[in-house]
């Protein structure tokens, strides 16, 4: 415990130089602006910043990426409150009460609530990050091929179940992502699979171009498809957070922080689900249920605390299991690997101080969003007023540069274009993109786990089901899948038939 605190202190001291402070301020600003601009997601922001920081020392590069990540998730609340358009999906829940407050002339107060919720949420998640990562790291050392197979499988299943409105389509998107991960040379014989004789494809799809395509270009195609909406911003009051908003709803803040962090730890689920779950939990427990959706301070606080607490939560499985808790965390993981950090069960053995460096980065990012939360409103309004027809081509140029610069290959630009079209088509057919990306990230781990496990057990499937951690995982997966079927839910609940729910198979 004290050793951890000492390492955390060292990590903080390590970033107290002018260059690091400058990078913190700049990258938090970039993050907030990216987050505030509808159509630019945190995932894309981190992917672009990964490209930009590729030649930087790893510590500084990761500092930039984490500040961008935290800033982007926070920044989304600005357009949610001011325009009723979530800057990032994580802020969709904030639209409900944030914009309702803005329409009452309380946009400043709403932004203050978003700032305090986001700051406290990140801090709560940060504490869990510092406390849970070493514990989970120890547990992860017990994981073998069988457990990693199920864990990766769990990630795709849970992302498919929770990130869209239709689990069946989520699982299908996940399977397409897993298929994409099989393209290229396989691990045992270096056999080319689905490469069509293309030498570039032998290396498989690079994660960053694929993500830039699926999240960036697809989003730009959607923006080009939809008619631009005229920007109308309500007048607003002071953005300084009120202490009474925090003290009055401290239970909601704490609950949302814990929920957000837990959702973050779940592989692939991410900030939007964290915000909605925190919002729903706050509504259930609230004494002012009737205010929710009509300008509830508690609702906005819950959503903003939940989504920002999810950010450190999503980094916990990245560090300990090399399994991302969200799409932006997947890019962050790719960036860590590019910069020579090997996330996974051995991280507490090989680089125990790194975990505390990440916690320190998170703390600086929190300070960054606090500063910009108090000062940046008018600049952001100007940015939000820039027409989409100007933003879209500029962002697309950045997508092309971002895809190219990781490996300096034109092939990656084509991969970005391909995944962009795939992402757009899937979205038009109401398939969620997140499971596709998680399948792409985790497909390799799943295959290696399955084949290694089968080789070790000489084709015997029993250890996949009988080892204790494996058993817990597959039973959980089976339950998650089974509970999507209405007849199973009715059987479990022994309740009369409910009206047809959206989220069933």
């Amino acid at each position: 415990m004290f050793e951890g605190l000492v390492q955390f202190g060292h990590a903080i001291a390590g970033f107290l130089d002018p260059l690091s402070i400058g990078l913190i301020m700049l990258s938090s600003l970039v993050g907030v602006v990216i987050g505030a601009l509808p159509g630019l997601t945190a995932t894309m922001g981190i992917a672009l910043m990964t490209t930009l920081t590729i030649k930087m020392p790893s510590n500084q590069a990761l500092l930039v990426l984490i500040c961008t990540y935290v800033g982007a998730i926070y920044g989304g609340s600005r357009s949610a409150i001011l325009l009723n358009i979530p800057g990032t999906p994580a802020s969709a829940a904030s639209c409900l009460d944030g914009h309702a407050l803005a329409k009452q002339g309380l946009a400043g107060r709403a932004m203050g609530i978003a700032t305090s919720g986001s700051v406290i949420g990140t801090l709560i998640g940060m504490v869990f990050l510092a406390l849970f990562t070493p514990v989970l790291g120890d547990l992860a050392l017990k994981f073998g091929a069988y457990e990693f197979f199920w864990l990766a499988f769990f990630g795709v299943v849970i992302a498919g179940t929770l990130t869209g409105d239709d689990p069946l389509k989520g699982w299908l998107a996940g399977l397409v992502g897993i298929f994409c991960a099989t393209v290229g040379q396989e691990a045992i014989y270096a056999f080319d699979r689905f490469t069509l004789g293309n030498r570039d494809l032998a290396g498989g799809f690079n994660l960053v171009p694929a993500l830039v395509g699926a999240f960036g270009m697809a989003e730009l195609l959607v923006a080009a498809r939809e008619k631009p909406v005229p920007v109308k911003i309500n007048p607003f009051d002071s953005v300084i957070p009120k202490l009474v908003d925090v003290t009055r709803y401290w239970r909601t803040i704490l609950r949302s922080g814990v929920i957000g962090t837990f959702i973050g730890i779940l592989p692939g689920v991410g900030e939007d689900v964290a915000a909605w779950s925190s919002y729903a939990a706050a509504k259930r427990a609230s004494k002012e249920k009737e205010k929710f959706g009509k300008g509830s301070i508690e609702g906005l606080m819950a959503a903003e605390t939940g989504d920002n607490a999810c950010v450190p939560g999503a980094i916990i499985p990245v560090l300990t299991l090399a399994i991302p808790g969200s799409a932006p965390a997947a890019v962050l993981m790719a960036a860590m690997i590019i910069h020579g950090v090997r996330p996974g069960p051995l991280i507490m053995v090989e680089a125990p101080t790194f975990v505390y460096e990440v916690v320190a980065m998170m703390l600086f990012a929190t300070i960054g969003i606090l500063i910009y939360g108090l000062t940046l409103t008018r600049l952001l309004i100007r940015v939000l007023s820039v027409p989409k027809a100007i933003i879209v081509p500029i962002i697309f140029a950045l997508c092309v540069v971002g895809a190219y610069a990781i490996s300096s290959r034109l092939f990656d630009v084509w991969v970005m274009l391909g995944f962009g079209v795939l992402g757009y088509v899937l979205r038009r057919a109401a398939f969620p993109i997140a499971p596709l990306v998680l399948g792409l990230v985790l497909g390799d781990l799943m295959e290696k786990g399955l084949r290694r496990g089968l080789v070790l057990s000489d084709g015997d499937l029993t250890p996949f089901f009988t080892r204790p951690i494996s058993a817990v995982l597959w039973i959980t997966i089976a339950l998650v899948i089974a509970l999507r079927f209405p007849f199973v839910r009715r059987f479990v609940a022994r309740a009369p038939r409910r009206p047809a729910a959206d989220r069933t198979v």
Binding site: L168, A224, K227, D272, Y404, W414, R428, A429
Partner: protein, 174 residues
């Protein structure tokens, strides 16, 4: 995860059925290609080490789940009709206008960068043309003035991207 998942417009049974059929065809193709992959039996390979094992399983899973989607879309169609779905209020631009935007994206990604044309020139051209074609001009602005504004935005973008990526952060540009 980070996507507009909760804002997805619902799809009609026809869209679902089309997607299901495409996925079934895709899954069958993946499974067939996986089955035909070398199993390296001469090198003591087994079923468990066969390169086609995993993609084959994935292909079959896609076929199975897409089959469920197809059946479900047929059931939904019986209840609400093939083209019905909850109303999506998002106003869309005319398809030719969208096709032009998409064509510009592809022209930039496939032709204007990395094919010998300097990055700054390709980027200036792409951004300027896009802005000129899609920006609603301010009231009273003439076409030449719009063209100059678009060109200035394009040139500024190219300049800033080149400076920031190539000169400050030493990143290679296409």
């Amino acid at each position: 995860m980070d996507d507009h998942e909760h804002a997805l417009p619902p799809a009609s049974p026809r869209t679902d059925a089309t997607a299901a059929l495409a996925l079934i065809a895709f899954g069958v193709l993946v499974a067939l290609l996986s089955w035909r992959m070398d199993r390296f039996l001469a090198q003591e390979g087994t079923l468990w080490t066969a390169p086609g094992l995993w993609p084959g399983i994935i292909g079959l899973c896609i076929v199975a789940l897409a089959g469920v989607l197809a059946v479900r879309s047929k059931r939904r169609a019986r209840a609400i009709g093939w083209t019905a779905a909850a109303r999506d209020d998002t106003p869309l631009v005319p398809t030719p206008r969208f096709a032009l935007a998409a064509a510009l994206f592809f022209a930039y990604g496939l032709v204007l960068v990395g094919r010998g044309l300097p990055f700054w020139l390709g980027t200036t051209a792409f951004v300027a043309v896009y802005v000129f074609l899609f920006r609603d001009p301010p009231a009273g602005a003439t076409r030449p003035r719009n063209a100059i504004v678009a060109l200035a935005i394009g040139a500024a973008t190219a300049l800033v991207v080149t400076l920031v990526f190539e000169r400050i952060f030493l990143v290679r540009l296409p």
